[in-house]
C-alpha cells in the first residue's frame, strides 16, 4: 500500500494531521469542529459559492473557503476569530434577508440547513432588511414543488441534475441579485428534460425544492371510516427510515416501521417486497420468452419511474427493449384492487391503497392513466420516506420505543430477492436467482451474484445457464443510463438483460429518502439490504409461498392473460416541447 503523505497544520492552535489533499472543512471535522457550510455537499465537487465556510488562514489577507481549500504543511487556521464570526454571521444575515422566512409553514420546518445555522448563530434580530422578491412557487406536477423564494442559490440541485443525472433541467439564470435557479424559459418542470427523479429535492438545503406533499390526503383517508386503507412499503424504506429517529445509517427498522404503520391506523400493512417477487416472476418469464422467441434484446428493466420517464422522453426509439412488466409498486396496486379486494371481501371502490416509496417519481407513476382501470387508480397515494417520517411525527410516535411487528397477509411476505430490489444490481440478482433455476433446473451456487453488486456506475457479468450464456449489465444514475443507451443505439450492447435505476445506488438512494442521504449512507443501506436477504427463509422469488398461492388462485401462470391485463403495461414516447427534423 502506498504511504499517504500526512500534512500537519494547526486549527485554532490545535495540532492536526490529515492526509494530503484534505480540505480545511474535513480537517476541522476530524477534530470535532464543524465549520458552517451550505453549498458544500460531500458527493459534489466543491463550489465555494455560499462563502459561509470562510475561515482565517494566517498569512492571507482574505479569508479562504474551508470547503475548497486544501490544507498545506504548517498552515494555521482560525475558525472562530472575530473576523471569521463577523463574516460568517454577516453572510448568513445576507442569505436570510433574501429568503422567504415563513419557516413555520415550510415543508422543511425543523429540517432545514439554513434554519439550523440561524439557530446555531442565535440570530434574533436581522441586521439587514428583507429583500425577497415576489417569486411564485411552481406546483404543476405530481412529484416536485419548486419554491424559488426559498432558494439560497447554493447550486447543489443544479450540480446533481447535471453531474449525477446528466439531465440539466435546472440551470442558473441571470446575474447579480436577479440570479435564480430555474428551468429554461421558466418552463414548468414536466416540459423540460426533467424525469422527476427528485435528487434535487434530496440535496436542497432548504425548502426551495420539495416533494409534492400528500400526507394530508393519506391522513384524511385514514380518518374516513368507510375507507379500507392499505399500505405497501418499498424495500428501500426500512433501511433508511431509522436515520430520522436516531439510528445509525443503514439500521434495519422493519419491525418498528410496521408497528408505526399499524398505529397510524392502516387497515392492512403489506410489503412491496411481495410484489417485487411478483415482478421477478413476470419480468424473468418475459426475459426467457424473449430469449426463446427472438424478441427485442437486450431487455431493459422497468421498475424505476425516473428511468421510465427518461427513456420515454429521451430514447423513445428504444422503448421496445423495455420490459412490459409494471413496477412492484404498480403490480401491488393492481393486485390490491382485484385479488385482494376479493380475498378481503371489500368493495374495490372502498379500498385506498397507499405506497410508501423512497421516490418522488413514483407519485407521477401512480398518477399515470394506464396504472388503473375503470377510472380508478391502482395506487391512490404515494408518500416518500420523508413524508412517512412526518406522519410518524404527526401522531407523536416515539419510533425507537416501538415494538416490532410483522406484515399482514396475504400480500406481506417477501423473499430475499424482493428485499434486494432496493439496491443497484438487486433486480438483476433477483432475476438471475429465478431464471438460473428455471433454465438449469438447479439452484445457482452460490446463490449470490456478487459481480452485479456494489456501487460502481456500470457493472457487467456473464453467467452460464448451460444451454446458453447470459450477459448482463447493471447501471445506476441517469448519466450512466444515457451512456448505456448511446451504446445500445450504436449496437455496442451485446447484453441480454440490463438493469437501470435512475438514482445513485438504486432506490436506497432515491430522491424521496431522508435528508443527509449521501453516497456513504447509500453504501450502508445497500449492505443492510443484503443483510435482510441473508436472514430470510425464502431467498428466491418463485419460492415465496404467497406468490405461489397468488398464481394458483388467481393469475394462473406468469405472462397469462390475467397477468398481462393487470401486471404489464406499454410505454409511449413523451414528446419534447419542440422536435425539429
Amino acid at each position: 500500500m502506498e504511504d499517504v503523505q500526512m500534512i500537519h497544520l494547526k486549527i485554532n492552535n490545535l495540532p492536526v494531521s490529515v492526509p494530503k489533499g484534505t480540505k480545511i472543512l474535513q480537517a476541522a471535522q476530524s477534530i470535532g469542529i464543524d465549520i458552517p457550510h451550505l453549498c458544500f455537499h460531500p458527493d459534489q465537487r466543491a463550489k465555494a459559492r455560499c462563502r459561509i465556510c470562510s475561515v482565517e488562514v494566517v498569512g492571507n489577507r482574505r479569508l479562504l473557503a474551508a470547503c475548497s481549500t486544501e490544507v498545506w504543511e504548517g498552515m494555521e487556521v482560525f475558525t472562530d476569530s472575530q473576523i471569521v464570526r463577523d463574516t460568517q454571521v454577516g453572510i448568513l444575515q445576507l442569505i436570510m434577508a433574501d429568503h422567504d422566512k415563513n419557516c413555520l409553514t415550510c415543508a422543511r420546518n425543523h429540517r432545514c440547513e439554513l434554519q439550523e445555522l440561524c439557530a446555531r448563530f442565535n440570530i434574533q434580530i436581522p441586521n439587514v432588511p428583507d429583500v425577497t422578491k415576489d417569486r411564485k412557487a411552481e406546483n404543476t406536477n405530481p412529484s416536485i414543488v419548486r419554491n424559488p423564494a426559498k432558494c439560497i442559490k447554493c447550486g447543489r440541485c443544479v450540480r446533481v441534475c447535471k453531474d449525477t443525472q446528466g439531465i440539466e433541467a435546472l440551470t442558473y439564470a441571470s446575474r447579480s441579485d436577479d440570479l435564480i435557479v430555474t428551468t429554461p424559459y421558466n418552463l414548468s418542470m414536466e416540459k423540460t428534460d426533467c424525469t422527476l427523479c427528485g435528487q434535487c429535492s434530496l440535496v436542497c438545503p432548504t425548502g426551495a425544492i420539495v416533494e409534492k406533499d400528500d400526507t394530508q390526503v393519506v391522513l384524511n383517508a385514514l380518518q374516513d371510516p368507510n375507507t379500507h386503507v392499505i399500505v405497501q412499503v418499498a424495500p428501500a424504506v426500512r433501511v433508511a427510515l431509522g436515520d430520522a429517529f436516531g439510528y445509525e445509517s443503514g439500521a434495519i427498522v422493519t419491525g418498528q416501521m410496521v408497528t408505526a404503520l399499524k398505529m397510524l391506523g392502516f387497515d392492512r400493512v403489506f410489503d412491496t417486497n411481495f410484489s417485487a417477487d411478483l415482478t421477478i416472476m413476470e419480468e424473468g418469464s418475459e426475459l426467457l420468452h424473449r430469449i426463446q422467441n427472438g424478441g427485442v434484446m437486450p431487455m431493459l428493466t422497468s421498475c424505476s419511474p425516473g428511468w421510465i420517464n427518461f427513456i420515454e422522453k429521451h430514447y423513445p426509439q428504444l422503448l421496445p427493449h423495455l420490459s412490459t412488466a409494471k413496477s412492484p409498486m404498480s403490480m401491488f396496486g393492481a393486485i390490491s384492487k382485484t385479488y385482494y379486494a376479493k380475498q378481503a371481501g371489500v368493495p374495490v371502490k372502498n379500498i385506498f391503497t397507499v405506497a410508501i416509496m423512497p421516490c418522488t417519481a413514483k407519485k407521477f407513476e401512480a398518477a399515470r392513466p394506464e396504472m388503473g382501470r375503470d377510472g380508478m387508480r391502482d395506487v391512490d397515494a404515494v408518500l416518500t420516506t420523508r413524508e412517512f417520517i412526518k406522519l410518524i411525527r404527526y401522531v407523536g410516535l416515539s419510533f425507537k420505543d416501538l415494538p416490532e411487528s410483522e406484515f399482514d397477509s396475504p400480500l406481506g411476505t417477501g423473499s430475499g430477492a424482493g428485499a434486494i430490489f432496493g439496491a443497484t444490481g438487486g433486480v438483476m440478482e433477483a432475476a438471475l436467482r429465478t431464471v438460473y433455476e428455471k433454465v438449469t433446473g438447479k439452484e445457482a451456487q452460490p446463490l449470490e451474484f456478487h459481480d452485479v453488486r456494489g456501487f460502481a456506475g456500470v457493472k457487467e457479468a456473464t453467467y452460464d445457464l448451460g444451454v446458453r450464456k447470459v450477459k448482463v449489465a447493471v447501471c445506476h444514475t441517469l448519466l450512466n443510463a444515457r451512456k448505456m443507451m448511446d451504446r445500445l443505439e450504436k449496437g455496442e450492447c451485446d447484453y441480454d438483460f440490463i438493469e437501470i435505476m435512475a438514482c445513485p445506488g438504486g432506490c436506497i438512494g432515491g430522491g424521496g429518502q431522508p435528508y443527509d442521504t449521501t453516497n456513504e449512507v447509500r453504501k450502508k443501506r445497500i449492505e443492510a439490504l443484503y443483510e435482510i436477504d441473508k436472514g430470510l427463509p425464502y431467498r428466491k422469488s418463485h419460492e415465496n409461498p404467497d406468490i405461489i398461492t397468488l398464481y394458483k388462485d388467481f393469475l394462473g401462470e406468469p405472462l397469462s392473460d390475467t397477468s398481462h391485463h393487470l401486471l404489464h403495461t406499454d410505454y409511449h414516447q413523451v414528446h419534447k416541447l419542440y422536435e425539429f427534423e
Partner: protein, 416 residues
C-alpha cells in the same frame, strides 16, 4: 509634449491596419523573426528586466508569468489575449486593436513561441464587435504570409489564433470567468486553485495577458536602444497607456512615461476641467479602483507612488469628477455598475452589492442612520475578504477608499 511618449503606440497611424504588407513595410514581424532565433527563457527575461507588469489590472510581473508558463510541461498549452476591458472609463485596448492589430497578433505569436503553446484565444468584449473584422483580417493575412499556422517561418513552431466574443458581462474580464465564457458557458468565475497557468482553458495550462501587455512585447524585443527602460524609474519602468475621461476637456488614451504627475495628466494632457469647475475626486483604475482628492495631484503616476497615495494603477483609467457631482452620487453610480455586473453566484457579492445600493439610496434620501453606515461598512469589508473572485473583492474599493478620503460624506446628523 513632454508628458506623452510613443513607444507602445509607435505604430499608430503609421500603416494601414487592414494590410499586412503595409505593416511589413514599417518593420512588422521583425520581432517575431528575432524571437524565434532566441531561447524562450531569454524572451521572458527581457520582459522581466524591463519590469513590465500586466496591464489588465492585477499588475503581475509579466516576464515571470511567461517564464512560469514556459516551465509547465504539457503537450497542449494555450495563450489567451484578454481584450474584454470592461472597467469603466477604460478604452485603451480598443485603440490598440483599432490602430495596430498586426502588432497584437505578432505579440500573441511571440508569447505562444515563448511558452510553447499551440493555440491562442483572443476574447474580445461584444462592445468592440465592430473591430472583429480587423482582427480576423489580421489573423488571415498573417496565416497567408506564414506568420501563423503550421511550421511558422520554417521552424517547428505551429500556432493558431482564434477570436471569441464576449456578450456584455464585465465579470468576464476575470480570468476564470473568461475561460468559462470561451468554453461556452455563462461567465461565472470559479474558485482558484487550480490556477490558470496549470489548468485554465479546457483544463489546459493557460497564459493570460492583457492587450496592452502584449502590445509592448514586439517593441521591447526590437528595443536595441533601450528606449523603453529609459522612461520611468524603480519598479515602474517604461510607458503606460492611460484612459482619461470624465470631466476633462480632452478625454482620450495617452501614452505617458511612468512618473508623469497626476496633475500633468489631468491639466496638461487633458487640458483641465471644463466650465471653471473644481476637482471633486479622481478614480484610478476603473470602477473597481480607489478614489483620491486633489491632494494626489502632485503624485507621480507610478505603481509605488500611487499605492502610497492610497490608489492603484488598475486598468490605467483616470476618471476625473468635478464639483457638480457629489461623492455620494459618484458612489451610487459606481454601485449601480456593480449591482448590474456581479455574476451573482457568491453570497457576499450578490447580496452585498444589493444592500449597499439600498443604503446609499437611503443616504441620498437623507434617511440613513449611523447604524446603516456601520452595516454598510461591515458588508463592504465582508465582500472584500470573502467573495469568490476579484470582482466581489474589489467592488467596494471606491466606497471604502471614499470613507477614508471623504469622511464628512458619512457623518450624519442625528442620533444613532
Amino acid at each position: 509634449m513632454g508628458n506623452e511618449a510613443t513607444f507602445i503606440t509607435k505604430n499608430f497611424g503609421k500603416y494601414d491596419p487592414m494590410s499586412i504588407d503595409s505593416y511589413l513595410s514599417i518593420g512588422g514581424y521583425s520581432a517575431l523573426k528575432r524571437a524565434i532565433s532566441m531561447d524562450g527563457e531569454d524572451i521572458a527575461s527581457k520582459i522581466a528586466e524591463a519590469k513590465v507588469k500586466g496591464r489588465g489590472g492585477a499588475a503581475y510581473d509579466m516576464g515571470r508569468k511567461w517564464s512560469q508558463s514556459r516551465g509547465i510541461k504539457a503537450p497542449h498549452k494555450v495563450v489567451i489575449c484578454n481584450a474584454d476591458e470592461g472597467e469603466t472609463c477604460t478604452f485603451k485596448d480598443r485603440e490598440i486593436i483599432t490602430h495596430d492589430p498586426f502588432n497584437l497578433i505578432e505579440a500573441i505569436t511571440i508569447c505562444g513561441y515563448t511558452v510553447n503553446a499551440q493555440d491562442a484565444y483572443i476574447y474580445m468584449r461584444e462592445e468592440y464587435r465592430h473591430l472583429r473584422p480587423r482582427i480576423l483580417n489580421a489573423i488571415k493575412q498573417a496565416e497567408e504570409k506564414g506568420f501563423l499556422g503550421d511550421r511558422i517561418l520554417g521552424t517547428d513552431f505551429s500556432f493558431r489564433i482564434h477570436l471569441y466574443s464576449g456578450a456584455g458581462a464585465y465579470v468576464c474580464g476575470e480570468g476564470t470567468a473568461l475561460i468559462r465564457s470561451i468554453e461556452g458557458k455563462a461567465g461565472r468565475p470559479r474558485m482558484k486553485p487550480p490556477f490558470m497557468k496549470v489548468s485554465g482553458l479546457f483544463a489546459l495550462p493557460t497564459c493570460v495577458n492583457n492587450v496592452e501587455s502584449f502590445a509592448i512585447v514586439p517593441h521591447l524585443l526590437m528595443d536595441d536602444k533601450r528606449e523603453y527602460v529609459s522612461y520611468g524609474s524603480g519598479e515602474s519602468l517604461g510607458t503606460k497607456l492611460i484612459c482619461l475621461g470624465g470631466n476633462v476637456r480632452r478625454p482620450g488614451v495617452y501614452e505617458i512615461p511612468f512618473g508623469t504627475t497626476v496633475r500633468d495628466i489631468i491639466f496638461d494632457l487633458g487640458q483641465g476641467i471644463p466650465g471653471g469647475h473644481s476637482l471633486r475626486l479622481i478614480q484610478f483604475g476603473g470602477a473597481s479602483g480607489k478614489v483620491a482628492d486633489s491632494r494626489i495631484l502632485d503624485t507621480p503616476y507610478t505603481y509605488d507612488d500611487l499605492k502610497k497615495a492610497g490608489v492603484t494603477v488598475g486598468s490605467g483609467s483616470v476618471l476625473v469628477i468635478d464639483d457638480r457631482t457629489s461623492v455620494l452620487d459618484f458612489l451610487r453610480m459606481t454601485q449601480d455598475f456593480f449591482s448590474e455586473e456581479s455574476c451573482g453566484q457568491c453570497t457576499p457579492c450578490r447580496e452585498g452589492n444589493l444592500h449597499i445600493k439600498l443604503i446609499l439610496a437611503k443616504m441620498a434620501r437623507s434617511e440613513a442612520t449611523q447604524a446603516d453606515i456601520r452595516e454598510m461598512t461591515k458588508i463592504a469589508k465582508i465582500m472584500s475578504i470573502s467573495s469568490l473572485c476579484g470582482l466581489g473583492e474589489s467592488a467596494q474599493n471606491a466606497l471604502l477608499s471614499a470613507m477614508k478620503v471623504f469622511p464628512e460624506t458619512f457623518e450624519l446628523g442625528g442620533e444613532n
